[in-house]
Amino acid sequence: MSEKTTPEPQATSPDDSPEPADIREPGGTTSEAMASDVVLDTAGGQMPPSAVPAATLRRGRDQDGNGSVLHQIFTGNAMVSVLSVLLAIVLGGILMAVTNPKVAVTAGYFFAQPGDLLTEVIRPYTALVQGSIFNWAGADLAAQLYPITETLTVATPLICAGLGVALAFRAGLFNIGAQGQIIFGALFGAYVGFAWHLPIGLHLLVVILAGLVGGAVWGGVVGLLKARTGAHEVIVTIMLNYIANFLLLFLLTTPAFQRKGSTNPISPFLDSTALFPELLGPQFRLHAGFLVAIAATAFVWWLLNRSTIGFEFRAVGANPSAARTAGINVARSTILVMAIAGALAGLAGVAQVSGTEKYLSGGVAASIGFDAITVALLGRSTPWGTFFAGLLFGAFRAGGVAMQAQTQTPIDIVLVIQSLIVLFIAAPPLVRAIFGLNPRKKKTTTSGTAGSRTSGIKSGAAA
């Protein structure tokens, strides 16, 4: 990353760059360090012209919601993501060990037979893998493969919504509103799915389109408010989540949405023509929505890396001042990116009503909108990173159920592991310190070579 500014830029390649931030340096001693901080930190913070000298003014500009810390967390290096997952799994294991009464028993004779203790810790994780990837104890191939299809099914909405969060973040917007956007996508999609009766093929297409529009509207509103009035997207999206949630609950009690003859707040089943086709037959829940998620990932990759629109998004996200000076319409980008992010989250809603659930209920979005933030975080806001992070979280979810059933380990442990992952990703220096990857300690007067080796590893990971 560019913030690794070298004090001596003339003879450097980016790989050699030391990190001024890791060296004792009060507030950026070199002019370059100061200047590059500014690049990353000014997310639209526009100061009025004043008599304050330039140097002070520049420092003052970097106070905005999307400060460098958030940026760092969302775009940190891949190594930290991987190590965070690893660390969270180890800590989760320890937690399981201390809470499992059986472990306490085996710990009593730990020194006689240490294997027993380890078995007790490893058993839940084995169940997790069995429940999420491959069940070698299954009776036939279908039973053996069932876990992986479950993982993919659960991952589908996570990936779509995660892409929505990741895309917005690349344009410098922290989209907490995936939850509301999913609800709107599901609402629009489901209504078209059960209220309209269209021929096969066309019906599903229209459902998907309606879901995209629903999400885009709910996301676009955020962009519009931000661009036109300066309202902060974090607050707006949180509030819109509430509105979407309660609107859904209300609508499900109205005749237009409530299932005939039911007193429960649930919608009629969607027409069969409005459903995603099952990919592997009726015994699996896996549906074509997963293929749509793959396509969405590829689309976002193209959008960000190969299109002028994505170029604008990234420029606005990385340095709105420079984007504006280069003639990019920052307001239009903000609205557009939130609409597309909302549409992606809306797709997650369609995947829920048209694929997994087949009807609309108050819990259609579950906690997908919030897990999506974690997924985007773990995927470092890159499309394919988000895709694989979504798969991992899908596996946690699917495997967690099996784990609880087989080993009586509460499924909450999965939540703990997820939370630990976020915690570690948010603290890269902690992860690096635990794995001994920090570049140098103070006063390593003699270990110049050791220092160069570790910084080499780090920047290798970053590249």
Binding site: M1, S2, E3, P7, E8, P9, Q10, A11, T12, S13, P14, D16, S17, P18, R24, E25, P26, G27, T29, S31, E32, M34, S36, V38, V39, L40, P48, P49, V52, P53, A55, T56, R58, R59, G60, R306, S307, T308, I309, F311, R314, A315, A318, N319, S321, A322, R324, T325, A326, G327, I328, N329, K442, K443, T445, G448, G451, S452, S455, G456
Partner: protein, 531 residues
């Protein structure tokens, strides 16, 4: 106090920032470290100040080896440092800032600021600083803020004072005042380490000059050495400090600004009723102390300033009220004053930055699809043409040095047919070699028949580039004068004195027979500065 650095080496990974540097600072001496940006001056001083640990080598104070674990220990040993970017808390008063980290307390842990105020007053009187201990730092001009930094060091009994690029943020007048302060400190037996790449100041103030290039000491120079010699030693090749340019061949007036007024959010007119023209093939330099409306003027032309009144026409087309994209599309090349803030996206690659305002135009894009191949090829060609030193065009632009970053901005803005070229502070923070390059490109664009507007707070730059000079003061035009106008007159005009009056008062103050050369003493001080 005698300070010695022996064989200091500082490595960052495989990069050698300082390579066996020896340096002796004698008491009562101004020792100048001269070198380009990135030569290793600041790293060396950060080692001395305890911010970095040296990889090898030792520091001796009065002949005894010392190790500074942190700036606190360096301060305790009598070393004070004034950073290029001040380490002051804007919302604290001068006294609070000075006391910070060294607070004395009364009973019950209450701050005893009175003691600090007293010390500030006595130092202020001793050196004629004229600093009010109770003024809020954010309300002070930059020059005074710098004095507060110096006071901070002096209060802690600094015997060696390190000044890192102290004049970078100062106006010509403030620079002169700083040089006077340094002379006084020297008289009191303090040693000064003066870091700079500005030859005029270095020659004016130093007793010894050590030239550093690529992390190594390349030699000692005498202050009497010619600026060209110093510059050549610094860059490592022969450089020419004077710009060879033919007289301007001006064509029609194609760019007209009429009654331009920019109002800020407080309702103040930051640009006040400006009218000027620029002809084809002419450089109009906008001179003035920073913050006198230059930023707003250029931004108004570009179209990013709200609340603008008046008229801006280019080849008869009204630009006011048009979008930035439209203005750029009309053929305006724009180099913003702060390249890292407005000119470049630091995390983007060089290739991407080279097309930052051309990303949606052919041949770089067709429809919404971009063409990475064409973009990379364009970047490779431009990197070659503008001599951008980089390992690869896919390196993030933020990893480049300031000079190379500026070349990227110039390469982008000069790479399309222009009808107006605007550059703000085109060489701020650049070294001698890069400045020479940038100036040549600007003049080349002028000779190409483009009207050029240069905004600069550096009088040297204004005098070198301009065909005509417009001086701004508080958003108003003080006057437009020919490029042959003397520094004294320009200096007075920059303080708001009208041209005719400045002319009269400058000739009255300059002793007859005194030579006014661009590289000797700062203007207007010949009489009093020779001690």
């Amino acid at each position: 106090m005698k300070l010695e650095l022996k064989g200091i080496t500082k490595r960052f990974g495989s990069l050698v920032a300082n390579d066996h540097i020896d340096l002796v600072v004698e008491p009562g001496q101004v020792h100048c470290l001269l070198g380009e940006n990135g030569a290793g001056k600041s790293t060396l001083m950060n080692v001395l100040y305890g911010l970095y640990d040296p990889t090898e080598g030792e520091i001796l104070v009065d002949g005894k080896p010392v190790v500074f674990k942190d700036p606190g220990e360096a301060m305790a040993a009598g070393i004070g440092m004034v950073h290029q970017h001040f380490m002051l808390i804007p919302v604290f008063t001068v006294a609070e800032n000075v006391a910070l980290g060294n607070e004395t307390t009364k009973a019950a842990g209450l701050l005893n600021l009175e003691a600090t105020r007293g010390k500030i007053r006595s130092i202020s009187d001793q050196y004629g600083f004229d600093v009010d201990p109770d003024a809020m730092v954010e309300d002070l001009p930059v020059g005074v803020q710098q004095r507060v930094e110096i006071i901070k060091a002096l209060v802690r009994d600094a015997e060696v004072l390190i000044l890192d690029e102290p004049t970078a943020v100062l106006t010509p007048q403030e620079t002169d005042e700083l040089l006077d302060i340094i002379r006084q400190l020297k008289r009191d037996g303090k040693s000064i380490v003066f870091i700079s790449h500005k030859l005029r100041e270095v020659k004016a103030i130093s007793d010894t000059i050590t030239v550093i290039r690529r992390g190594k000491v390349v030699g000692q120079a005498d202050p009497t050495a010619s600026p060209t010699e110093l510059a050549s030693a610094m860059v490592g090749r022969t450089v020419s400090l004077t710009l060879d340019k033919a007289p301007a061949k001006t064509g029609d007036v194609s760019f007209k600004v009429r009654n331009l007024t920019v109002t800020n959010h407080n309702g103040q007119h930051v640009v006040d009723d400006l009218s000027f023209d620029i002809a084809k093939g002419e450089v109009l330099a906008i001179a003035g102390v920073q913050g006198n409306g230059q930023t707003e003027l250029t931004e108004a032309i570009l179209g990013v300033q709200p609340h603008v009144a008046g008229s801006i026409t280019l080849d008869g087309e009204e630009l006011l009220g048009k979008s930035v994209k439209h203005v750029l599309g009309a053929g305006v090349g724009f180099v913003p004053e702060d390249r890292t803030l407005d000119g470049l996206v630091g995390t983007f690659t060089i290739s991407e930055n080279m097309i930052l305002d051309l990303y949606d135009k052919a041949p770089f894009a067709r429809g919404v699809g971009m063409k990475p191949g064409v973009i990379a090829e364009n970047a490779a060609r431009k990197v070659e043409e503008f001599d951008v030193r980089t390992p690869s065009v896919s390196a993030a632009v933020g990893t480049l040095s300031g000079g190379n970053q500026q070349k990227v901005v110039l390469a982008r803005e000069l790479s399309r047919p222009l009808r107006l070229f605007i550059a703000s502070q085109p060489t701020r923070g650049l070294d001698v070699g890069s400045i020479e390059f940038v100036h040549k490109r600007v003049i080349a664009e002028r000779d190409h028949g483009t009207p050029v507007m240069i905004v600069s707070t550096e009088l040297d730059e204004v005098l070198q580039l301009a065909d005509r000079i417009a001086v701004l003061y508080r958003g108003r035009l003080v006057g437009i004068v020919p490029a042959t106008t003397s520094r004294d007159v320009l200096g007075l005009m920059m303080a708001g004195v009208p041209a005719a009056e400045a002319e009269a008062s400058a000739s009255a103050h300059t002793p007859s027979g005194a030579t006014t050369s661009a590289v000797t003493e700062p203007a207007g001080h010949e009489g009093e500065t020779h001690v």
